[in-house]
Every structure is written in C-alpha cells, then in structure tokens.
C-alpha cells in the first residue's frame, strides 16, 4: 500500500489549484498537487479574452470600481449569485491581477493619446489619459457597464497560467503529474484525502491530507460539442458526489458561449465582439440590434446565445452539412488589430477553417462553454457538508456566477478564489480543528474498493461498451438539456440517463486489458461517473420550473423569484441509487445588497418575490439617508451588506485607483 502524507492535497493543476498551492505554501504548509496533465496544459490556458478587474485605467473604464463590477456580476447571474461572495470577489480582483503583474504576466498596457476603436460598427477615437500610460488596459466584454476586461492579446489564460505555474516552481510546490483522483477518502463527514491512479503505470496511491481541495474545472464534456478541453469531464464533481456526503450546487446552470466555430466547437473569444465584431445572418444582416437594441452583440452571453438560436429558428441561419450557423464578422477591425489582439483567433481560423478572419467571416454558433454549477461550498471554499474538503474555480459552486457567468469573470474567479481559499485552508490547518486520526485499515479499505472496481471493469464479460453509453449521454445532453429546455424533453433526458446509469454498472473494457496506461480503462470508469454528473444536471433542469440566466425553460419563461430563488442541491447518499437526491437552499432576499430586479433584456417577465419590494425600499432609503449624511461608498456598502469581516485580513485594504484615491 503506497501512502503519501501531506497537509493539503490539491486535485487539479490549473489556475485555481496552483493559486491555492502557492498560497498555502507561503503560509508554511506542505502541499501536493495532483494533475492529469502538465499544469501548463490545463484548460485555464484556453481562456482567451481576459480577466475582469475594476482597475479603471483605460478611458472607457472611467468611473469603474468594485460597486459597478459587483452590480454587473449580480445582474449577469440573474440574481442567483451569493452576493457576499460576489462582493469578496470584486474587492479582490484588482489585487489578484496586480499580484499576477508582479509574477510576470505581460498584461497589455494603456498607450496615452488617441487610438481608433470600433464601437457599434463605427470607427471612434478614444483618447487615453497621460497619467494612465503604462498601466494595465482593458477591453469591452458582454454584460458589463465599463471596459473592464484586462488581457494579454487573446492569450490571457495562457499567460496567467504560465506565470502561475512558474511561481509554483519558484515556491517548490510538489506536483504529481498524470495522477487522477478517483475517490475521496473520508469517514464520518471528514475528508482525509483521496485515492489516486497513476495514469502511466496504473498504480493506486492513497494521499492522506488534513485538507483536500478539488480544483478540476467544469463538466462541459458531458455534451458532444463543447468549447472545453477534453479533460473537462467533471471528475472532481463526480468524486465529491460519490462520497455520498459532499453536495453539488446548481448543476443545471450551464453556459453556452455565442461564438464557437462550426463544426468543431473551438472557441473564438468574446473579445471579438468586445473589440467591435458583429454577428450576421445568412443575408449578411446584423440582427442583434433588432433583438437587443441597447447592448446588441454585447448583451450577456446567455442572452446572445438565445437570440442567435431564435434567429436561426426563423430560418435566418446559414445552412451547412453540420447544421445551421451564423457569421461572426471581425473584418471590420482590420488586419493590424486582429494580428495583434486576436492572434489565437486568427490561428484557429487558419488552422481549423482554412480562412483568414481579416477577410472572411467566421462560421459560429452557441456551444456549451462553462459550468456555473459545481461542488457547493461555503464562502471559505469548504464543502457545506464535508469537513476538510474544499473546492474552488470552475469546479466549485462558490457561488458568484449564479445562473450566468459574465465573460472575463472565470479566470478572475480562479485566482481570486484560489488566493482566498488558500488563506481559509491555512487558518484551518493552524487550528486544533484540523487535527485528525484515521486508521490505516480504513485507508486500505478505500484503496481496495477502487482496486476492485477497476478489476471488475477489466474482467467483466458480455458487458456494455463504454463508448456507446458515453456517446448516447452526450447526445441526450446536447438535444434535450440545451439552450432552450422544456419539461417533455427534460423528462426524457432524465429517464434515459437513468437507464444509461444502470447499464453503465455493467461496462466491460474490451480487448485492452493493461493495468498500466490504458485509455480504454480510463474511458470506462470516467463514463460511469460522467453519467452521474449528467443526471444531476438534467434532473436539476427538469425540476426547476422557471427561466433564470442560462437555464431557459420554454414552458416556464418567467423568472420565478417567489418559488425558485434558491439553489438546487444534489447529492448521492447511497451508491445504489440510480438518481441523485435533490434539495434546495434558499437565497434570502432580505440579506441582499442588491434585491432582484430586471436585467434589461427583452421583456420583463419576472415574477417577483413578495419581499423584493420591501427590501428594495429599505435599501433605497438607507442609501439616501447615508448619502445625505455624507458617507462614502465604502461606508454605505458596509451598512447595506457588510462582508469585510469575512475576508482574510491581508486582503481587506482599499484598492488604489486613478482619479479616485491616487
């Protein structure tokens, strides 16, 4: 029995996982990072367009601050987000980006003087302030009031991840590559680490830790077409679920990005539209202003994806053998801009479509992109139900995105949540509360259980083909749990997924019987888990009889705050269950700084919560009174919904900003 002991086990070597690792290391704790692939190849590297942080350096960001970022984030979430968490996030995003600047990210900078930009299909001249010269600049993204998305060309995630991984090298963070966590080790509601499988040798290893962090990203690959890397299969959520103790939040909240290329589903960044690109239909007609006259192409992602789908349903899509699509036109931006600020997009167009985006339109359609749902945590990143288990980044439902994430808020979340959760974990480790005792027999039992499961897959006869089950699951999610949803299809999806789950217990790994590196074996056990994850998502969507953010029910078009202002919580307490258990967590209007309102897209169909009006009046009255008393924006905010005391002390400082306090 191979056992490795560490203070903090981190599962996942992307931005979030690495930021937790360097953070706990700095506080003097040991850590081991388990990763499927070299950390620099994690899906974080694929984030193109940028990271939101309210620095307000660029002229188009004038007047931006934490309050505006907070309000954009809450509106974007369709009031599904945890407002305290969103406050903590917007307060720390400037700190995270400045820290990364010190660690080497070559953020694109403000050039003083005039520059040309495209806004609403027209050339305009923007004059950048002299005093902002050389500070971090920002571009426009959807659903934001200010230009707030900081970037390095369109390789933002790549640059952040490289700086982060290099920092981890500097700190001597121990990284165990090509190791896959396949089960959490736990007893009586306390997590003690994980069983991991070495993907090169097949060896099973028990990692025993005082704190365990899951930072494995999203579960986009339960869909047949996704912008996600192929490793984003939801295995972090799955092992949490299989513990029977940890819970998942809002698994039905799935984002579709408007502009992935057809047919392969590779992303072209929202920066294309942020920088002035347009969406056109089969007639070359710019249709978004007809649907969303105010924000047009830069409405929130869920809105643009729905409008595109609506427009294609009207027969305005471009026919192709891969189904209908629309056009993304960035020719208007000019070759120089594309080759400097949209280089990855250019490479993708050249290599996968054989077109030059400075001349040709790009075939695009909305495609699965982001998982708002994930392992449900407290604001500290700790599971609400399993002590010592933490999660952050896309893997978690922390929950700052609610039912729709804003572009640029995901990489931002990874590093902000990473730096905060590292502190909370360190506090836990420094306290008596983290003391632990676990019998070696118990550890052995977990190892044996996993060993037996793998052997069963390899020795089964006359079983099911994992690929067949997986492809069917992917199709069901694509066809029935998509952008527009309805009760009939969702019921079908749930029933059929349940059937697939039963069949998946009988999977056989055909021919390829190696106990070492064996892609067929990996596919077999991951398929079993992916079907469970898919079920939590489909069932959550079926039960949620309203439309909120990216969850859009054609049979329930209203956002129903009275009945559905709550998070879907799923768990799997008994391994023999063929369906997850579901419960709900209320989101309390009376605790909100920003009570539910209208997002400003289309017609207002909201069915309001009876408390909303009362709370709004009280917020308005408090604000008015305090403004009259001459209190500043921090003091007023604090009176409405205090959050500072929740932050680690080192992160409570006021952010410097040009024109405000510099």
């Amino acid at each position: 029995m191979k056992v490795i002991y560490t203070d903090v086990l981190i599962i996942g070597g992307g931005l979030a996982g690495l930021r937790v690792a360097t953070g706990v290391k700095e506080r003097g704790h040991n850590t081991v990072v388990l990763t499927l692939v070299p950390p620099k190849r994690s899906h974080s590297s694929a984030a193109q367009g940028g990271m939101q942080a309210s620095l307000a350096n660029s002229t188009m960001g004038d007047g931006d601050n934490e309050d505006v970022h907070f309000s954009d984030t809450i509106k974007g979430s369709d009031w599904g987000a945890d407002q305290e968490v969103a406050r903590m996030f917007t307060h720390c995003a400037p700190k995270a980006i400045r820290e990364l600047a010190q660690w080497g990210v070559p953020w694109s900078r403000v050039q003083k003087g005039d520059r040309e930009a495209i806004i609403n299909a027209k050339k305009v001249t923007i004059t950048e302030k002299d005093e902002a010269h050389g500070l971090i600049t920002a571009r426009d993204f959807g659903g934001t009031k200010k230009w707030r998305t900081c970037y390095t060309s369109d390789g933002t995630g790549h640059s952040m991840l490289y700086a982060m991984d290099n920092k981890a090298h500097e700190e001597n963070v121990e990284i165990h590559e090509r190791l896959e966590a396949i089960s959490l080790i736990h007893e009586e509601g306390r997590c003690y680490g994980a069983v991991a499988r070495n993907l090169m040798t097949g060896e099973l290893v028990a990692y025993i830790s005082k704190a365990t962090t899951i930072a494995t990203g999203g579960y986009g690959r339960i869909y047949s077409v996704s912008t996600n890397a192929i490793i984003c299969q939801g295995m972090g959520q799955a092992i949490a679920l299989e513990s029977g103790v940890a819970t998942l939040g809002n698994m039905e909240a799935i984002q579709f990005h408007p502009t992935a290329i057809v047919p392969v589903g590779i992303l072209t960044t929202e920066g294309c539209r942020g920088d002035g690109g347009l969406l056109l239909d089969k007639d070359g007609y710019r249709f978004m202003p007809d649907y969303e006259p105010d924000k047009k192409e830069l409405a929130s992602r869920d809105v643009v994806s729905r409008r595109m789908t609506e427009h294609m349903r009207k027969g305005k899509g471009v026919k192709s053998k891969y189904g209908d699509h629309l056009w993304l036109d960035i020719t208007i931006l000019g070759r120089e801009h594309i080759e400097k600020n949209l280089r990855e997009v250019k490479e993708i167009c050249e290599n996968f479509l054989g077109i030059d985006p400075a001349v040709d339109w790009i075939p695009v359609r909305p495609t699965q992109h982001y998982s708002m749902g994930g392992i449900r945590t407290k604001y500290t990143g700790e599971s609400q139900t399993m002590k010592g288990l933490y999660s952050c980044g896309e893997a978690a439902c922390w929950d700052m995105h609610g039912f729709n994430r804003l572009g640029g808020n995901s990489v931002s979340e990874t590093v902000v949540a990473g730096m905060l959760v590292a502190e909370y974990i360190s506090d836990f480790l420094d306290s008596k509360d983290s003391d632990m005792q676990i019998h070696s027999a118990k550890v052995e039992c977990f190892l044996k259980q996993e060993h037996d499961k793998l052997e069963a897959l390899l020795t089964k006869e006359n079983g099911e083909d994992a690929y067949v089950l997986r492809r069917r699951m992917e199709e069901i999610m694509m066809d029935k749990v998509g952008i527009f949803r309805n009760g009939t299809d969702l019921k079908d999806a749930v029933d059929e997924l349940e059937d697939l789950l039963r069949r998946s217990k009988n999977i056989e790994v055909f021919r390829s019987k190696s106990r070492a590196a064996n892609p067929a074996l990996v596919n077999a056990y991951r398929t079993q888990r992916m079907i469970k994850v898919a079920l939590t998502s489909a069932l959550g969507a079926y039960l949620r009889e309203e439309s909120r953010g990216a969850h859009s029910r054609e049979d329930f078009p209203q956002r129903d705050d009275e009945n559905w202002l709550k998070r879907t919580i799923t768990s799997w307490p008994d391994a023999d269950q063929t369906m997850p258990s579901v419960s709900y967590e209320e989101i309390n209007v009376s605790n909100m700084e920003m009570p539910p309102g209208f997002r400003g897209y289309g017609k207002d169909l909201t069915h309001h919560h009876p408390m909303t009006k009362v709370k709004q009046d009280s917020v308005d009255a408090t604000r008015k009174k305090l403004e009259e008393e001459g209190l500043n924006r921090f003091e007023i905010q604090n009176a409405l919904m205090p959050f500072m005391d929740k932050l680690p002390e080192k992160y409570r400082g006021i952010n410097e900003r040009l024109g405000e306090n510099v």
């Binding site: 590297s45 400037p94 080497g104």
Partner: protein, 247 residues
C-alpha cells in the same frame, strides 16, 4: 449531389510500443480511416481508438492548438496533431512519438517532466529580492510596446517540437534547446526580472546553453507558434559574448 467526390481512404501508420508490456517491441501498425470534411489528426486518432483499437495512446487536451500537448512526428516532422488537417497531407500518413522525450506508450510522451526540469534549472520566474508584494497599490507601469514584445516570447506552449527538431540536442542531450533559450530571452527582456547579465551567463553561457547551438535552426522551422527563435538565439549569443568579454 452527384458530383461530390468520393472521400479518400486514409492509411494511418503509427509507431506503436507499450513499454509496460514486456512482450511488446516497437512496430508500425496501419489503420484505414475514411476521410471526412475538415478532418484533423485529432479526429482521426480518436476514431481509431473508438472503432479500431481502444488501447491506442496519445495526448490531446485543448484540441485547439493552444495547450501544446499533442506534438508528434507527422510524416517525420514535429508538429501539433490537433490542428493538422488531413486534407493538407497525402493518403498515407505516418505518425510517431516525438523523439528525446520519455515514452509513455505509442504517441504519448512525458513532456511535462522534461519541461519541469528545464524551468527549474533556468529558474523561469521573476527574480526580485527587493520587491514586496503590494497588491493594493497601483501596478508598476510598463511601456505598452514592451509588454507586447514580452507576450510575443511568452507565447511558447512547451510542446517540445523545437526540441525534437533540434540537431544539437541529438548529439548533446543536456542541451537547453530553443524552448529554454527563448525563455531566457523572455525574462531578460522583462524589467521586472532583476537578474544581471552575469547571472544569465551562469545559466546559459556554456555549451549546454547558448554556445552549444549549431545554428541549424530546425527549431524555428517547426515552431507551431512561429516564435522568433532565430533572432532571439542570435541576440542571446551576442549578449553572452559581450558579458563574457566584460569579465
């Protein structure tokens, strides 16, 4: 439509070997796959795994030419498989793992270990002992053009193609390779890194570093990110000679 051409039948020959199987020896195996529109080697290899041989090992992560995982020899030339369209190749395609890296099996190689050693050895991070972390304050300024120039070199994806395409490293396995030299050029350019020319000289001022390069420049030919490796190697060599003369 009548005039649609019959799709080609591709012959994919793959160098196969499972180092964990004592019975196995390296051998070529050929699979036939019907070509489809817009087909990439990512699609080809997954089709082979799903329908012909589920034990076939290879590495893809982003499958979008961004992460650098899927470098392999395609008809003898190092490149990223995910973004290689079959339409640009002949009917018979040979695939082999990148040489020089530890083999995990078939087309799967352990680049992570090699790159990790490289990064640790060259200390590819910002060195600034004086600096105190100050995340509440306005960030330090940088000239916009300089930031762009650093990003240009920061675009390396550690795919290992330059290493596989390097003539020098074939003879001197301890050679840093273009990937490492480019990283030094990147940090040297970055004013946030306070290392002196002498400190850089310590890292690459020998035959395993800049003076080992025979200027064959296979690296520049095969770099999937079109990094300016030739000019950066030339620049580093001039700088290192200057530094050595100074001392």
């Amino acid at each position: 439509m009548r005039d649609e051409k019959k799709p080609r039948l591709l012959k994919i020959s793959i160098l196969r070997f499972d180092p964990h199987d004592p019975e196995d020896v390296p051998h070529m195996e050929t699979f036939e796959v019907e070509e489809s529109d817009g087909m990439t080697l990512y699609i080809v290899l997954n089709e082979i795994r799903e329908h012909h041989d589920n034990s076939l090992k290879f590495d893809f992560v982003c499958r979008a030419g961004i992460c650098g995982s899927c470098s392999m020899l395609v008809n003898g030339r190092p490149t990223l498989a995910c973004r290689t369209l079959t339409s640009k190749l002949g009917e018979h395609i040979t695939l082999a793992p990148l040489p020089l890296f530890e083999l995990i099996g078939d087309l799967s190689i352990y680049t992570g270990k090699w790159m990790r050693y490289l990064n640790e050895h060259l200390e590819t991070w910002i060195h600034d002992k004086e600096k105190e972390v100050a995340f509440d304050k306005l960030e330090e300024r940088m000239e916009p053009a300089l930031a762009d120039e650093i990003y240009e070199l920061d675009r390396c994806v550690e795919c290992g193609c330059c290493v596989a395409g390097c003539g020098t490293i074939q003879m001197r396995p301890s050679f840093t390779g273009a990937v490492g030299l480019n990283k030094i050029a990147r940090y040297h350019l970055d004013p946030r890194d306070k290392r002196s020319d002498e400190e850089y000289y310590e890292l690459i001022g020998d035959e395993d570093g800049i003076f080992g390069c025979m200027t064959l420049l296979g690296c520049e030919d095969v770099c999937p990110k079109d990094l300016p490796l030739q000019s950066k190697i030339a620049y580093l060599r001039r700088m290192m000679i200057k530094t050595s003369m100074k001392n």
